[in-house]
């Protein structure tokens, strides 16, 4: 294989891993609560800033920064669920209302970050320095770490929702809230857990991304839009389909950048997505949901 194609493959894998982390967070909240969280990208950005504050401004090291970014963002997710989602359960317009409240949350977090941290670009150091050889091409070790970390986390998430009883309770709540409550599952607690996991994943993604891209208050919107494409391709229903779609989209993006160039790529991706939805309204791998 040619060099260009190998490089493309590697960068497609990096993109796919990032999208998988983002989209799986969206999917967890969607399958459990039936809420599409527009603040997900803003939470990712928030995680990156927390990681920067702890590791750079406070000088406590990158690992504790990433840890803090994940945990603090997870807590913010719980707060969002309490304040902006919980009072609308059972409302017949819940889907629409929560889109609006999470959109408002996105504005609050984004503008808040701009007020706290300013508009100046920030960047995190890399977790591991150096380069790694991958399929005969070199990528930075940090990117290689992301490629390895994403499937590990997804696998852990899958194991959590299939093996542990807490995880299974999330799925039960997603399938039928009333029955879940009847067999003794604390439904509000399941909602909080789902939101904490989802936001935590967003924070972690942001902290990892902060080493390869600049941290800005608007850094979350592009990944959010990409995660939306992923979610539309894969359907929102299952973690596996969402993760699979993430890698397909990452590869597609890398290939399009190589063939049609940076300018046409986003337009083409949206176009492909809209066509997919017209032909298959529940996503490429989706099952009938609504």
């Amino acid at each position: 294989m040619s060099d260009a194609l190998l490089t493309t493959l590697a960068s497609g894998l990096v993109l796919g891993s990032l999208y998988a982390l983002m989209a799986s967070g969206l999917s967890v909240v969607w399958t459990t609560l039936g809420v599409f969280n527009f603040a997900h990208g803003a939470l990712m950005m928030f995680g990156a800033y927390i990681a920067w504050t702890v590791s750079e401004a406070a000088g406590l090291g990158l690992l504790s920064g990433i840890l803090a970014g994940t945990i603090v963002t997870g807590l913010v997710g719980v707060i969002i669920e309490r304040l902006l989602i919980r009072s609308f359960y059972g409302n017949r317009n819940m889907l629409l209302i929560t889109v609006m409240t999470t959109l408002a949350a996105m504005i609050i977090i984004e503008k808040g970050a701009q007020m706290i941290w300013g508009a100046r670009l920030k960047q995190l150091p890399r977790l591991i320095e150096g380069e790694v050889s991958l399929f005969g091409t070199t990528v930075s070790a940090h990117e290689a770490l992301i490629i390895g970390l994403a499937p590990t986390i997804l696998l852990a998430l899958w194991a959590f929702t299939t093996i542990t009883s807490t995880g299974r309770s999330l799925r039960a709540v997603g399938q039928n809230q009333t029955s879940a409550a009847l067999i003794g599952i604390h439904v509000p607690r399941a909602f909080s857990i789902a939101f904490a996991i989802s936001a935590g994943l967003a924070g972690l993604t942001g902290a990892l991304l902060g080493s390869i891209r600049f941290i800005t208050p608007a850094m979350g919107s592009e990944p959010l839009v990409k995660a939306m494409i992923v979610v539309i391709f894969g359907g929102l229903g299952s973690l596996g389909a969402t993760a699979g779609a993430a890698y397909v989209i990452g590869m597609l993006e890398a290939i399009l950048i190589l063939t049609v160039g940076l300018y046409w790529t986003p337009s083409l991706m949206f176009l492909v997505m809209i066509i997919v939805l017209v032909l298959r309204p529940n996503g490429l791998f989706g099952r009938r949901l609504i």
């Binding site: 969607w30 609006m100 409240t101 996105m106 809209i274 017209v278 529940n282």
Partner: protein
């Protein structure tokens, strides 16, 4: 609310607005009114698709943006008179709505939100990538301005633009009120409130959705064309999350499904956010306040300001 009462309210509102230039001579305050009228058209037309028809349309600003860029490209690249480009913007926006409606008519729930949003991103990406036509991220500047004979609309403290914007808002509002009170408007509400029942009564749900989107795009596109000609710029910012959430907050705070509520909210919020922009440290915080107000309305007063006001007046519906 009775129809007569609505008419009285609208006549009162527009008479008041038409008299404003008599005692407001500052061209800055008039500029704020013009911007407020533009937002009022955007918000009230969005209310038609989102509030009346119940289509989860989050790509409404796309129609506005298409209007803006139609006017910009037609005047700059094709040399069309700015007078012609304003109605032309309505035509292109309606065509775009028809195209967007094709996938939307078949979809349900969250997928409608995602696709309408994706369409707005697609248009934004096209604008950014075709920089030789659209100016890319920098946008287009120095568009031609409106004039009749030798009279430039910017003269006399923007008097011409003020009345032009007001008459566009009036036409749009009359159009929307007429539409929502017509059998078509009633069928939209039927589709929103009970899909199965509406279908059983022989209403085609997909067709009504498509029509609602197209109708809501007409004046949104026209006001987009006017916006570009008035400010003499077209910039991709019109597609941003910020513009969208500001317009959305106007629909919500004003009162979903009322048409006149968003008009009032648009005027109030434009002045409120502009006043706050003058206070130090509020440049970003004002958007946070608008977002909090949006959440508060959703939690405490789902009918918005219009709903609160209607409660004061006995209903005879």
């Amino acid at each position: 609310m009775t129809v007569q009462f609505l008419w009285i309210k609208l006549i009162l509102l527009f008479t008041l607005l038409a008299l404003v230039p008599l005692w407001v001579e500052s061209s800055y305050i008039r500029h704020l009114f013009i911007i407020a009228f533009i937002y009022a058209v955007i918000a009230s037309n969005w209310d038609l698709s989102l509030g009346y028809a119940g289509v989860f349309n989050f790509g409404h600003l796309t129609f506005f943006g298409i209007g803006v860029y139609t006017a910009a490209i037609a005047t700059k690249a094709l040399g069309v008179s700015p007078w012609l480009t304003i109605p032309l913007s309505g035509v292109t926006a309606a065509c775009a709505a028809l195209l967007m409606a094709a996938p939307v008519a078949r979809l349900k729930g969250i997928y409608v939100v995602l696709v309408t949003f994706a369409v707005s991103q697609l248009v934004l990406q096209l604008v950014l990538s075709q920089s030789q036509i659209t100016g890319g991220a920098e946008g287009m500047v120095r568009l031609p301005y409106l004039q009749i004979g030798d009279y430039k609309f910017i003269r006399d403290y923007k008097l011409g633009y003020y009345y032009m914007a007001l008459s566009l808002l009036m036409s749009s509002t009359l159009f929307l009120v007429w539409l929502t009170k017509s059998p078509f408007g009633k069928s939209l509400r039927a589709v929103r409130d009970n899909e199965d029942y509406a279908q059983a009564r022989g209403i085609s749900i997909s067709r009504q959705r498509v029509l609602a989107l197209v109708m809501s795009a007409i004046f949104t596109g026209i006001i987009g064309g006017f916006y570009a000609i008035y400010l003499r710029v077209a910039s991709p910012e019109v597609f941003s999350f910020g513009t969208m959430s500001l317009a959305l907050s106007m629909v919500l705070i004003g009162g979903v499904g009322t048409i006149w509520g968003p008009v009032i909210a648009a005027i109030a919020l434009t002045f409120a956010t502009e006043a706050m922009a003058g206070i130090r440290g509020m440049e970003e915080a004002r958007f946070i306040l608008v977002a909090i107000a949006m959440i508060a309305v959703l939690r405490l007063a789902p009918g918005g300001v219009a709903g609160l006001l209607s409660r004061l007046v006995p209903e005879k519906n």
